[in-house]
Amino acid sequence: MLNLAESITSLLTTATDAAGGLQQAAGHGAAEAAAHGATHATDVVMGPWYVLLIPLLPMLGVVLVTLTALLGIRTKLPAWLTVACLGGAFATTVVMYWNVSAGPAVTYGFRWIDLATGNGHRFTADFGLYVDSLTCLWMLFVTGLGTLIALYASEYMADDLKAGYARFFMAFNLFVFSMACLVMADNLVLMFLGWEGVGLCSYLLIGYYFKKPSAVAASKKAFVVNRIGDLGLLMGIFLTYVEFGTVQYAELFPMVEPYVELVKSGMAWDVPMRVGLIPVLFMVGAFGKSAQLPLFVWLPDAMEGPTPVSALIHAATMVTAGVYLIARTYAFFVVSPIALPIVAWVGAATALVSATIGMAQFDIKRIMAYSTVSQLGYMFCGLAFLSTAGAAFHVLTHAFFKAMLFLACGAVMHGFAGQLDLRKLSGVAFMKGWGIVGIAMFVGCLNLAGFPFTAGYFSKDMILAEAFVTQGPGYSVLGWVLLVTAGLTAYYTFRVFFRVFVGPRHAEPGDDHHDHAHDAGEHGDAEPDHHHGFHPHAPGWAINLVLALLTVGSIAAAGLYFVDKENHGWVGGMIHNSSAYTSAGSAAFLDSANIGMHVDDPVGTGHSADHDDAHGGAHGTLFGQDPHKIMYYVSAVFGVVGILTAAYLHGPKGPLGLFIGGRTKAATSRADGLADAMMPLPTYARNKWYFDEFYGALIVKPLRALSHVFHLIDKLLIDGLVNLIGSLPRFVASLIRPSQSGLLQGYAAGMAAGLAVVVVTVWMVIAVTGGGS
C-alpha cells in the first residue's frame, strides 16, 4: 500500500498540517457560513425565507415554460405560466416590502463559490440575498412591470404561437430571475451572475428573430459591448476583494464607513488610491450596462428585439442596473474624489448627445431608445449630484412611463404591420380602437417631456436642482446642459406625438418585419396586398389593459413625491434606509473642489444626499434663488418651450396642433425646411454622429486586420519554424546521401532552419534573462 504520510519527510509533514487546518476550515456547514456573513456587521439580521421565492419563482417559470416547449404545447399557456410566476414574485416582493424594517437583512440560500485563499482568508460568494429598501424599490418595479409586460406580450407575441412563443417566455422568465439575482445578491459575485445573466437574456431576446441578420448582429453587439464594461466590473470586484478581503455587502459596507468618515472630516486624499479606484472600475461596468458614453452604441440597435423586450429590458429594468450598482455601492463612490465627477460629466454628455440623435430619427422606436439613453444620463447625473433619491425616483418614474411609451409604440407596430416611420403614420389616436393607445402615449409623452405636475417632471426636477446646489467641477454648466436637454427632450417627444398620433388620418403598413421576419424566405415575392386594402388591427384586451394600468400608474407616481415629504418623497425614504444613503455627501466634493476647482463656499458644511431645507452654508444658487424652489419654474419653461416648438414644427392644423401647427400631410412638416437649412447637422445626428463608423474604423477593423495578421504569422512563421526544424533530420539525411535530388532547396532550407534555430535560441535567452530579472 502506498502511504503518503510515511514516505514524506518533515517538509511535507508541515505542509500536511497546513492542509489539515484548511480542511477543517473547509468543513464548516451552510448555517455557519450564513452566520459568518451576518456576524461581522451587527445590524444585519437574518432575512425571512420567503424572499428566496422572488428569484425562484421566475426560475420555476423557466422550467415550466421549457416543459411546455418539450411537450409541444402550442397555445398561450407559456404566457399564462409566466404571468402567474412573475405575479407570484411580485406578490412576494410586496410582502417583503411590508416586512422589511430599517435594517438590512440577509437570507442565505446555498454555498456557491467558497474557498480558502491563503493567509487565513477565505473567498466567500454564496447564493444569499441582501434585502434593504433599495432592494425592495428595485424589485417592486422589476417584478411588477415584468408581470404586466408578460401579459402584454401574451397578445403581442401571439403571431409566433407556432414557433418561438415558448422560447420568448423562457428567456423572459430567465431575465427576471437574473435581474432578481442582480438586485438581491448579498455579494458582488452573485450580483455579477445576475449582471451577466441579464446580458445573456438580452442577447437571446434581441436575437429573437434569428433569421434577420440585423437582429443577429445587434444581439452580438449588445453582448460584446456589455462584456467590455463587465471586464471593468470584474476588475473592480477583484480589487474590492484584495483591499477588503470580502465581497459580501454585509461585511463590506461597515469596512468602507471609516473612509467615509475620513472624507467627512475633510481628509479625502488620505483614502488609499486603490479604494478610490474601485468605483472607477465599477463605473465602467455601469456605463456598459446602462448604455452611457462611450459604450451606448448597443442600445439603439437592441430595438431589433420584440417590443415587450425593449420595454422591459431596454427601457425599464436592465439598463437601470448601472444606476442600481452605483446606488448600491454608493459609499465607494463617495470616498473617491474622481468617481462622481466622471459620472456627472459622462451622464450629462450622454444625455445631450443622445437627445440630439433622437431629434433626427424617423423610427419612433429608435427615438424612444435614444430617449432612454438620454434619461439614463439624467439618472447618472442625479447620482453624481449626490441625489441618489432623485436618481432612484427618476428610475422609478422612467420605468413606468418609458415602458408605457414603448408598449404604445409596440401596439402601433403590431397593428400597422411593423410600420415605425413617423412620416408614414398620422392621426393614429383617432382611428377606431386606438383610443387607449393614444391616451397612454399622451400621458407618457407628457411625463418624458417633463410637463408640470407629471411624475417625470418631479423626478427630473430633483436632479436638475441638485446640479446647481451641489459643489463640483463644472456642475452648474452641467445643470444648464441638462436643462437644455430637457427642452430638446420635450421637443422630440412631442414630435412623435404630433406626427403619429394626431393630425390627418393616414397609415402605410410596414413590411411586416416584426411579425414574419422569421419567415422572410417565404413571402419574398408574394406581398401584393400589403398596400391595398390594408386594415390595421387594433390592440386587444391584454394590450389595452396593460396600457391603461400603466397610464394610471404613471399619473399616480407623481403622488409618491408628496408622500414622506421630509425625505423628499417615498423613494427618498426608501433610499434613506439603504446603502445608497450616505451623509458624507458633498464633503467629498468640497474637498475635490478645494484641490483645483472654483468653489463658492469653502467653509460650508456640505450638502447631504437626503438634504432637507434646513441645511445652511454651502448652497449653490440659480438666478440668485434657491434652486430647489425655482427649478419648478425653470424646468417647466424649458419643457413647455420644447412642446410648443414641436407643435409649431410638427403639429397638425387646428386645435390639436395648439393652433400653431400647420401640418396637413403625414410625410412632411415645417421641420423639413428647417432641417434643410441646418444641413449637414441633421444628417450627422441621424447617423448617430458616426459613433458606429468611428468604432468600426478605429477598433473593429484594426482588430480584425490584426487577427488576420496573427493568423498569417501563425501559419507561416510559427508553424513554418516548426516545420523547418521538423525537416532538419530529413535534410541531414539527404546530406549524407548526396545523390538525392533537391539538394539546392535542401541547402536553402538548411540555412534557413539554422538561422531560425539561432534566432529562436537568442530570443529565448533574451526572454529568459529579461523576464527573469
Binding site: M1, A5, G118, F210
Partner: protein, 559 residues
Amino acid sequence: MLLAMMIAPLVFVLIVASRPAEHARGIALLGSGVSLLLGLISWRMFIRPGGPDAIDPLAFSMDWLPSMGIRLDLGVDSVSLLMILLSCLLAPLCVLGSWTAIVKDQRTFYGWLLGLQAAIVGVFAARDLMVFYICFEFTLVPMYILISRFGSTNRRAAGTKFFLYTFTGSLIALAGLVYVVWFTAQHHGGWTLNIDRLAESARMMSATEQAWVMAAMLAGFAVKVPLFPFHTWLPLAHTEAPTAGSVILAGVLLKLGTYGIYRFVLPFTPVAVAEYAPLIATLSIIGIVYAGLICWVQTDVKKLVAYSSVSHLGFCVLGLMSLNHAGLQGSILYMINHGLSTGALFLLVGFMYERYHTRSMNELGGLAAKMPVWTCFMVFFVMASVGLPGLNGFVSEFLCMLGTFQAGGEGGQWGLTGYELPGVTWGVLGPWYALFAGTGVIIAAIYLLFLVGKICFGPLVEPVGHNDHPGPLPADLTGREIFTLMPLAVLCLVLGLYPSPVMDLLEPSVAKTVAVVQSAAAGESRNDAHIGAHSGLDAGAVIVSEVLPTVDSQTGGVR
C-alpha cells in the same frame, strides 16, 4: 481499484479484437461504461469520511524492477481522481458520439479508443515516474492512429506532426526528469522513482539546476498544453481528427500538459517557477489573446473551436502560475470544465459534420431553422465556454483571474512586503496580468458569438445539393445524440451553480501544493534578498531546510 480501472479497458480491447466488427461499438460502449462505473465507485470510496489523504483506499503498489527502484505505484489525490473521472465520463460519450460516424475498421477504432482510456487512467494514477512516463508516451500511439487512420483529408500529416512534435517535447522532459532521478540517487543514495520523493529531493537543487530542469519539463508539458508558441500542432490535429479523437484530445490529453505542470513542475522546481512565472504567464496571456483573435478569422468551425482551446488553456496555465490557492483551484477546475464544454462543442460540430459533410462557415448558416435542438445545445455550450456565470466556465475562469490578480505580494505587482492587504497573497503576478488576461474574456465573446451568429442564426445556408441526398440521419439531433450531450449539459450547470463539493475536495490537495511551492520559493526569494547568495547546491539545500520550519501551519505562507 485503480489497477482494475487500467486493466478493464484492456480486457475489452481483447474482446473487441476477437469479435466481429459490427459488435465493436457495442462492446466499446460496455467497456467504457464499466470504466465509468469503476470511476464512480472509486469516487465514492475516495470521499468516504475519514479524510481522503489519510489512507488512500484506491492505492495499489507492487515491486516491478526493485533493483532500479521502479515500482508499480498507483494512487490518487483529488486532482488526479477528478481527471480520471473526466476521462471515464468522456469515453462512453465518445463511443456514443462516433456511433454512426465511424463505418470502416470499427474494431481498430474502438480498440484503440479503449486502449487510450487505459493509458490515460495510468497517467493520472501514476505515483511512480516510470509508470507515469510510459503511460504518458503511450497515449500518443492510440491518438496517432485515431488521427491518421480515421481523420479527414489531411490526416496523415496531422497525425505525424502531432506525434513528432509532442514526442520530441516529452523526450526533452524525460531528460529533465532523468536528471532529477540522478540527482536524487546522488544525494540521497539509492534509486527511487517515487514521484513524491523525487519532488522532495528535487527541491534541494540549486536555483540554476531547477531552472534547467523546469525548462526541460516545460518543453514537454508546454507543447502538450499547448502554450504559445508551441501550439501549432493542435489546430491541425483537431481539425483532422475524428470527433471522438477531438473530444479526448481537448478533454483529456491537453490536460496532461497542465496536470504535468501541476504535478511535476510546481513541486519539483518551485524556485525556478517563482522566478520564471512572469515569463510563462506572459506567454499564456499572449496565447489567450493571440489564439482568441485567430479564432475570429477562422472559416472552419472545428479549427475555431481548436484555437479556442489554445486560448482557454492559457487561462489554465495562468492560474497555475499564480501559485496561490485561488489560482490553482481555478486552474484545476478549468481543466475539468474545459473538458466538458469544449468536448461538447466538438461533439456538436461532429454531429453537424455528419449531416452536412462540411465544416466551412461559408457553406453553412442559419441552422437553427433546421436543427433547433442542436442550436439550443450549441448556444448553451458556447455560453459555458464564454464563461457565463451560472455555468461551469465562469467559476474556474473567475478563480484563475482572481488568483492572478491577488498574486503579487512580494516581488509581484502589488509589491507589498508582508502583504498587509487581506486579499493579496504571495506570488509574482498581479493586477495587470489579470487585466490583460481579462481581455481574453471579451475576445471569447466575440469569436464564439461570431460562430453562433454565423452557423446557427441568420438566413438558412446549406451546402449546394445538400437536400438532394438525404443521409440516414434526421435533420435534427437523434435521441442518441441528445443522450450523449445531456450528461455534459447537466454537469456544466451543476458545476456552475454548485461547485463547492468539488472545490472542497480539491482544497486539501491544492493547499498542500501551495504550501510546498510558496514556502520553498518565498523562502528562496527572501534569502535571496537578505543573503544574496544562492548559487551552488548546498546553499539551496540549506536554505530550504532552514525555511521550512517557519511555515505557518495554518496557511502555508511565510511570515
